[in-house]
Symmetry: C2
Subunit: 84 residues, 2 copies
């Protein structure tokens, strides 16, 4: 069975996010006053697995080993059966 996985990676609270602060400063220079800017990355892919639970475990494994840095990142995994 094929599953669509979506991994949402954000920086842990308190971590500096230079990309977000640069964006906020650049917006201010253009006259847009915004606050609390944050960035999130999503990685999406499709994988073959027997059931949803195993798919979730496999993706969690990928996050721990490659996709995320558990020291600085929080992550959230979403698994849905693939339409294809």
């Amino acid at each position: 069975m094929k599953y669509d996985a979506e991994v949402k990676i954000s920086l842990k609270k308190g971590m500096l996010n230079p990309e977000a602060s640069t964006t906020q400063r650049a917006l201010a220079l253009l006259g847009y006053e915004v606050e609390g800017t944050a960035t999130i990355k999503i990685i999406k892919f499709t994988l073959e697995e027997e059931n949803e639970k195993l798919a979730m475990e496999e993706v969690d494994d990928m996050c721990q080993r490659l996709l995320c840095n558990p020291v600085i990142h929080d992550y959230e995994i979403n698994i849905t059966p693939s339409d294809a």
Copy 2:
């Protein structure tokens, strides 16, 4: 009134995404077979505006002028009233 804005930026269909293909190759090297890898970026912030429609227009403006490159990116804006 304060609004939370979320801008979801993805590459247009057909654009090469070296970050995604590198991720997919690295996962394969670790023994995880996945396909159709894609990446999406989300930028979140809070802004002050009179109503939701004006907030949407202002954020769309920011996308056109700074946040996105309309030649290569698709974007999707989500505005919700801020809890704070």
